[in-house]
Amino acid sequence: MSELLPSALFYAFAGLALVFGFLCVANPLSRNPVTSAMFLVLTIVSLAGLYILLHAFFLAAIQILVYAGAVMVLFLFVIMLLNLEEEERRKIRGITLGLGALSVAVIAGILIRAVVAARPSAGTTPLVEGGIRNLGHTLFTLYLLPFEAMSLLLLVGMVGVILLSKKDLK
């Protein structure tokens, strides 16, 4: 019986993620970027849920903390800064939309077919504790160099942002 619960939860979270993802991207009701931002946050949260199901507890926390918290806030901040109103209704270019959807569908079909064809082992392999200790241990032993590189990357990012947002940028 205990098996039942996780798969039910999986479907719930997966369903939510997909629905919110769809609403974020192509919200039939309102074209307002804020709504899509909100739905993106919800998608991220439901993904965090999935992470938990996959025993990646630390990542789920990071996901919520960094992604939902920091990144999305930044998004909202920028949306507010640019006080974008409703996207005015330009004529919808039916053809390009259709073609766009078609090609995306083709790629989705390909990926899914590949996944289904691969038939990975459905069985539940032994759990790997995804908690902080293991992750932290691997990070600071095996992947120390990339870890430090990350800090450098963030630094470069900050310098870039400051430069870009200078007032007198021609």
């Binding site: 390009t96 090609s103 790629i107 390909i110 590949a114």
Partner: protein, 648 residues
């Protein structure tokens, strides 16, 4: 392989000397002595004079004795099975023709010194005349087809230069162009004939070909008659036979001595001479390739005979209504050439050669006489503006009269009578009565138009100011007239038959007197029908001429038969027919090719490609819309496509 040097024995030197002297004089004149007239005259006159002397000597050396001298050839080009060389054959046929050509040419040279005296381009005239004599002698002495073809075209070129001598006169320039192009049509057929014969026998030299033909008569197979007719086409072009005769009357635009030399005696006779030279090729049984099998029984000789007869008839009829003295003589030449070709066709090359020789003399005399008349009447050529010249120009009149008698075939007193009779005998011998009839009829026509000319131009009163002051031209113009009068009258009295039988055509049946004794009345007992009928028609023609034209101020014929005379004056519309059909048709084809070239090849093909490139470039540009999403979409579509292809 160094070219073989000039042959050692002096007789061959003679042949080479005769051939090359006129060329040397022509080159010397053009290159160096343009200004110096005396030197030009002496040089060209001596060149042809010596040539004539040597020819006479060779005639007695080789002609009478019947031997053959084949000068060692000077190689021209030999590759694979084509070995073309410049070789000379000195045999009775060629020595006879040599004498005719050099003789008449020499007299015309003498005559020209007077006639062309006041022409600024005097040296160029004599250079061209020399070049013509060289080319003509090349044909006479040639011993293979390639050499004949080369000199065939060179003769065409020299006739082009001479007819177009006064190139500033549009009529002369057009006449020259017309002459050359019509000759070219003939040469086109001639070349194809040579190719057929060369391909079949593997050689181009006459003797080798004759030997091969004798050894294996069927060697030409189905193409025998076709080759014969094609080679005859060459003669048609050069001797102005029916379909290609239109250039000769127009060629009268050239100076009169030129007409005398080229368009009466020598060049037009080249066709007949060539036919006699390759006679062994022509009298093969009829054999047509599959495509032309409907011509089954007709042999090459039939075609030749009929073309000759028709030409002589048509030319004779047209001549009646011509008013220009030189045009009348031109059509008369056409008619006489028709006789010679008919003679060859009727299996009588000897008759043809005999008539060729006599015709060369009296026709040259007629033309030179006409030249004298024109010279005296200040370049007036219309006979209706002359008249009463007999009294004022006695020498010209009497020599002209003798030549006319020879042309019409006055019995006994003229050479023409004997040569024409030989032709009639040939026609009868090869049982072609219709041709014989035409031949005899043409005698009547000839007498009619010649006596018309004599009556209007010489007898009666002078109809124009210039004619009333006419007088005999200077000595160097009248002397050739007198000299030419002698053979015109006496040539028939020589035992020509014997000469032909023994020397030129051993096999052929000859149609003229053998021995000295029975020469005078030979024609009457040899072929009585021809002689008497001929004489009868001649008398008839004479009487008709006198009846209609004696004392007439104007040509009465248009009055009586308006439509016929207008047709004859327009030369039976041959020129108009050609100008309406062949020439525009060919120009239309050219226009089509030009249109295709301009629009299809250059337009569609070249500009099409460059235009296509341009369009393709423009189309590609549309893709760069600058819209990020189209790029993204294209990118995704690309990825989708690639992955799809990779996975499939």
């Amino acid at each position: 392989m160094e070219p073989t040097h000039l042959p050692a024995t002096n007789f061959q030197d003679l042949a080479w000397a005769i051939l090359l002297l006129p060329l040397v004089s022509a080159l010397a004149i053009t290159l160096g002595l343009r200004r110096n007239r005396e030197l030009t005259t002496t040089l060209s006159l001596s060149a042809v004079g010596i040539g004539f002397g040597l020819s006479v000597w060779l005639f007695f050396l080789y002609g009478v004795s019947g031997e053959r001298l084949a000068a060692t050839p000077l190689s021209w080009m030999s590759v694979g099975s084509l070995s073309a060389h410049l070789g000379l054959t000195v045999d009775p046929l060629s020595t006879l023709m040599l004498m005719v050509v050099t003789g008449v040419s020499f007299l015309v040279h003498v005559y020209s010194t007077g006639y062309m005296e006041d022409d600024p381009e005097y040296p160029r005239y004599f250079a061209s005349l020399g070049f013509f004599t060289f080319s003509m002698l090349g044909i006479v002495l040639s011993d293979n087809f390639v050499q004949t073809f080369i000199f065939w075209e060179l003769v065409g070129v020299s006739s082009y230069l001479l007819v177009g001598f006064w190139y500033e006169k549009p009529a002369a320039a057009d006449a020259a162009k017309k002459a050359f192009l019509t000759n070219r049509i003939g040469d086109f057929g001639f070349l194809l004939g040579i190719l057929i014969v060369w391909a079949a026998t593997g050689t181009v030299s006459f003797d080798a070909m004759a030997a091969k033909l004798k050894a294996e008569p069927g060697i030409l197979g189905a193409a025998a008659s076709l080759a014969g007719v094609l080679i005859f086409l060459g003669a048609v072009g050069k001797s102005a036979q029916l379909p290609l005769h239109v250039w000769l009357p127009d060629a009268m635009e050239g100076p009169t001595p030129v007409s005398a030399l080229i368009h009466a005696a020598t060049m037009v006779a080249a066709g007949v001479y060539m036919l006699c030279r390759v006679y062994f090729l022509l009298d093969l049984p009829a054999a047509w390739p599959a495509a032309l099998s409907f011509l089954g029984s007709i042999s090459a000789l039939d075609v030749i005979a009929w073309t000759g007869a028709l030409t002589s008839l048509v030319a004779g009829v047209i001549a009646i209504q011509q008013d220009d003295i030189k045009r009348i003589l031109a059509y008369s030449t056409l008619s006489q050439l028709g006789y010679m070709v008919m003679a060859v066709g009727c299996g009588g090359p000897d008759a043809a050669m005999f008539h060729l020789t006599t015709h060369a003399c009296f026709k040259a005399l007629l033309f030179l006489g006409a030249g004298a008349v024109i010279y005296a009447c200040h370049h007036e050529q219309n006979i209706w503006k002359m008249g009463g010249l007999a009294k004022r120009m006695p020498v010209t009149f009497w020599t002209f009269l003798l030549a006319t008698a020879a042309l019409c075939g006055l019995p006994v007193l003229s050479s023409g009578f004997y040569s024409k009779d030989a032709i009639f005998a040939a026609a009868l011998a090869s049982n072609r009565p219709v041709l014989f009839g035409i031949g005899v009829l043409v005698v009547g026509l000839t007498t009619l138009y010649m006596s018309r000319l004599v009556i209007i131009a010489f007898l009666g009163e002078s109809r124009s100011e210039a004619a009333s002051h006419a007088a005999d031209p200077g000595r160097n113009m009248t002397l050739p007239l007198l000299i030419l009068a002698v053979p015109s009258v006496s040539l028939g009295w020589l035992p020509v038959g014997a000469y032909f039988k023994s020397a030129i055509f051993p096999g052929a049946v000859t149609h003229s007197a053998e021995g000295f004794s029975d020469v005078f009345f030979e024609p009457f007992n040899h072929s009585p029908l021809g002689a008497f009928l001929g004489f009868g028609l001649m008398a008839f023609g004479l009487s008709v001429a006198f009846a209609t034209y004696w004392g007439a101020a104007m040509d009465p014929m248009p009055g009586h038969l308006p439509r016929l005379s207008r047709a004859l004056r327009n030369r039976l519309y041959f020129d108009e027919i050609y100008a309406a059909t062949l020439i525009p048709l060919h120009d239309a084809v050219a226009a089509l090719a030009d249109w295709v070239d301009r629009w299809i090849v250059q337009g569609l093909f070249v500009r099409g490609i460059s235009g296509g490139m341009d369009l393709f470039g423009r189309a590609l540009r549309l893709v760069q819309t600058g819209n990020l999403q189209t790029y993204a979409f294209l990118f995704v579509a690309g990825v989708a496509l690639v992955v799809l292809l990779a996975l499939k």
